[in-house]
């Protein structure tokens, strides 16, 4: 199967997982995206995207031990797979190629 391209929000979630490893889970991913981008992100949207990326085998998940802070519930922690890293690079490369030569036109000189 060829490496898939990532959508806009999928890319943000995958990059957040890469930044937060090995402590990437729903809340920490939501905080990272909110802190680094002007986007308002809901937990439900983050989890829906995590499930989709896991289905595509771009992320791997494991459950941590339950903690009292979380009402006795465990964390579902995510890491990038080799295919996930390749998908990030491929998607970024595609955007970079499309941006080539447009710096002036788009006002990013």
């Amino acid at each position: 199967m060829s490496t898939p391209y990532l959508g806009d929000f999928e890319m943000l979630v995958a990059l957040a997982v890469a930044r937060l490893a090995p402590d990437a889970y729903g809340v920490s991913i939501q905080r990272e995206i909110t802190a680094r981008t002007p986007r308002s992100v809901t937990l439900g949207a983050v989890y829906a995207t995590l499930v989709r990326l896991e289905d595509k085998r771009l992320l791997a998940a494991s459950d941590s031990a339950p903690t009292g802070e979380r009402g006795g519930r465990s964390r579902r922690v995510y890491t990038l797979t080799a295919a996930g890293k390749k998908a990030i690079a491929r998607s970024h490369d595609a955007v970079r190629r499309m941006m080539d030569g447009l710096e002036t036109a788009l006002g990013h000189a």
């Binding site: 809340v27 439900g44 829906a48």
Partner: protein, 143 residues
């Protein structure tokens, strides 16, 4: 970030509802994440957060079933019924147990909208199924 606060009994009951309503195996993790943000004081809109998480996850599950299993006839009815039932159960749990803040009322419009859309999807699923069965049935003279 504010100091973490202990979860109230209402919070715990709402989290239990989320755990039950979100498709496995994510319910427990999502309920834990909501508990963590509430305890840290990052969100005052508890009921809205929970409803949103449940709705998003069921939406994602429905899309996954349609694309992976290619079952458009049955899926409309099943997904519509599940969404409706889930939203109704969560709504009941919120009304019964959670002290709601006056400036964050539950999204009644969201609930009504979801119910109407769910009913429409279910009806469409049944209509399509009936139409397909009628088209593929043998003529009466051959039956």
């Amino acid at each position: 970030m504010r100091e973490p606060a202990p979860l109230t009994r209402g919070d715990a009951r709402l989290l239990a509802a989320v755990t039950w309503l979100v498709p496995a195996p994510y319910g427990d993790a999502i309920a834990g994440d909501l508990a963590e943000t509430w305890a840290a004081g990052e969100s005052d809109a508890h009921a809205s957060d929970a409803i949103d998480a449940v709705g998003q996850c069921w939406g994602a599950l429905g899309a996954r079933v349609v694309t992976r299993h290619r079952a458009p006839l049955a899926v409309g009815a099943v997904f519509g019924a599940c969404t409706h039932l889930g939203a109704w159960a969560l709504w009941r749990a919120i009304l019964a147990h959670v002290p709601l803040r006056a400036d964050h009322p539950p999204h009644l419009a969201w609930m009504l909208g979801t119910s109407i859309v769910a009913a429409a999807i279910a009806a469409l699923g049944w209509q399509l199924g009936s139409a397909m069965r009628a088209r593929t049935a043998p003529p009466e003279s051959l039956a």
